[in-house]
Amino acid sequence: MKKSARSWRPMLLVAILLVVAAVAVAGCGSSSSSSTSSPAPSISGFTQVPMSSDTILGAGASFPAPLYMKWGSDYAGTSGVKLNYQSIGSGGGISAIEAKTVDFGASDAPLKESDLTAKGLVQFPMVVGGVVIVVHLDGVADGQLKLTPDVLASIYMGKTTTWNDASITKLNPGVKLPATKINVVHRSDGSGTTWIFTHYLTDAAGSIWTAGADKEIPWPLGVGGKGSEGVATSVQQLSGSIGYVEYAYAKQTGMTTTQLQNKDGAWVKPSIASFASAASHADWKASLPSMYMVLVNQPGQDTWPITGASFILMQKDQADATRAKTTLDFFAWGYTSGAAAATALDYVPIPANVYDLVQKQVWPTMTVSGTPVWP
């Protein structure tokens, strides 16, 4: 089949590629205007001038990620400053801020005073939330299954292996528990959620739980999921599984959570009230300057035993005063105007008096060549 000299085929392909490229360029041109959830932004905005082209880059814990991302999209609407938050785990957040590839790192595993000084970082709490236990069991309703810290530790140590084990059925008369294996899911990345969870197990069931308390531990058994997102998805896909995630992940996806027996012996369901009850025991003033705080296993009838604060880490020595101020402005907004979004996702906002401590004692220690970046 002889092809004519003026073949149209290469031209057609080039034309298609040009159209694609044109769309791409047009898309780039409209970069500024779209706040992420606004309906149908225009695609042809070549001449639109952005209110502010600043982007804050943050990375770290998946624990507060749903909240930070919500704050980011709300804040972009009011101030034009955009937040790009990458949920890569607390370990990743610490790593990133040390490498200075981000403006701030987020971690639920707070650093101690000595570490902060050694790494040249400052730390402050941003929000408090709860870690809940999720299970994938057909026939068990949300909030129905009861677990004690001993049973939980035993499951994660691999000592209790089936759902109808005596220790579990004893706590749950009338609940239909299958004779199948308990499939354990934990985090595969360096996680502040793991840090909180393992601190809880060490504190509340220390005789059974011997695997340690850290962002990453040598788990006796179980598959790993990346981020709380990964743990939640894995539990969703594996029947008969159990996992631990931050509460927003369970609530927003309708997963089955469990009750826990707290320090006072009461059975509690996860809720913002139970997290707040735990947070009320925090003495933030005493925790200065590092603001290191562990909130697990707090006393109180209504306290949720696996509560934790999530922290922000920033470089003490800042390179760019404007960028630092922009970042701190965002957090100031979060402290003062972000409470509604936080409670909507069942996070406990940091109270005003603690914010006062942070902005008077912690933020002024951040400097650019000696000059504090705040106020």
């Binding site: 002889k2 890569i88 691999g158 990346k226 029947s239």
Partner: protein, 337 residues
């Protein structure tokens, strides 16, 4: 300019070399030397890039190599917070998942190639062959997603319980180990999905190689009364042996380095050697992908890059072996594979 029928085989290099080696005439032409230099530079860039890659890997993994030495290859667990940088768990997982993938993919690929070459009409063969080649183009992330949402629940809820209820469930290597979590996220699942990722490659190359068996030889076999299978088995496959082995090596290479699909499916357990294909584990590539963003200390990052160097060396080795096999095919059949 008229077009060319691209199916004509090239003539050997001798005459061509002679025809164009002679220097040009009297006019000073800058275009030619410039063009030649440019082309040569670009050609060498490819080689330089590879050495650059190797160099960067070695440079960045040097701290780990000097601090840990061969401990990486003798320790099982990967646990930086405990100071353990063992690659054995990852190596075992990589090997096992690749073996599972090959065990599933190679027979399947051969059988499909057989079908395409001997048992169906050439037109059908062409269509199906093209379809299979296109499936090779599907990115691994899509395989990973379908694996996670469709195959994992099926394996967990149906396949594994069934297998474990048969006598097969007591065979060492299938019998669940300590880390067994239902088998949904496991080496087996990763291996199954890997099998379908390498299947198109092996099928395509096998089919091409089987087609190159001379018709005359096959007809001689048929003429003596052999059945189709006998011709395939005793004539074609013997002829195409090297080519098929080369294809398998290529598939192996791809399976070894596969990251995304495996990361979704293998279960991310870094602390133990898997005792069974239904145990979760990890592979080198997915370990790097998962742990890279949180390498806090220099040693952590360096150890991860050292792991990457190990993977790099393994895949280079397999590539070289594959090249060697395929060159044997070229020499044996007198054309390009």
């Amino acid at each position: 300019m008229s077009t060319v029928d691209l199916e004509v085989a090239p003539s050997p290099s001798g005459p061509r070399g002679a025809a164009i080696a002679a220097p040009r005439g009297h006019k000073l032409r800058l275009g030619d030397p410039l063009f030649r230099v440019l082309a040569t530079v670009c050609g060498i860039t490819v080689a330089v890039a590879m050495f650059g890659l190797a160099g960067v890997l070695v440079y960045n993994s040097w701290p780990a190599i000097t601090t840990l030495g061969t401990k990486m290859l003798t320790t099982v667990a990967w646990s930086p917070t405990q100071g353990e940088y063992g690659a054995l768990a990852a190596l075992a997982g990589t090997a096992l998942s690749t073996i599972v993938a090959m065990v599933i993919a190679v027979p399947l690929a051969l059988v499909i190639a057989l079908l395409l070459v001997e048992l169906v009409h050439p037109a059908v063969s062409r269509v199906v062959g093209t379809a299979i080649e296109m499936l090779a183009a599907i990115p691994s992330i899509v395989y990973g997603m379908v694996g996670l949402f469709v195959i994992v629940p099926y394996i967990q809820d149906h396949l594994v319980p069934w297998v474990l209820s048969t006598p097969l469930g007591n065979v060492p290597g299938i019998k669940p180990g300590l880390q067994f979590q239902g088998g949904g996220l496991s080496i087996f699942t990763a291996g199954v999905v890997l099998a379908f990722m390498v299947l198109p490659f092996i099928t395509a190359v096998s089919r091409d190689v089987l087609k190159m068996v001379p018709q005359v030889t096959k007809e001689a076999g048929y003429g003596m009364g052999s059945t189709t299978w006998e011709v395939m088995h005793k004539i074609s496959m013997r002829y195409a042996n090297s080519g098929i082995v080369g294809a398998v090596f290529i598939g192996l290479g791809r399976a070894l380095g596969e990251t995304m699909a495996v990361a979704y499916l293998i279960g991310s357990v870094y602390t133990d050697l898997p005792r069974s294909i239904f145990d979760p584990g990890t592979s080198i590539a997915s370990l790097i992908a998962n742990q890279f963003s949180e390498a806090t200390r220099t040693l952590d990052l360096s150890a991860l890059i050292a792991l990457g160097l190990i993977l790099f060396l393994i895949t280079v080795l397999f590539q070289i072996l594959a090249q060697a096999w395929l060159r044997r095919v070229q020499r044996a059949t007198g054309g390009r594979a």
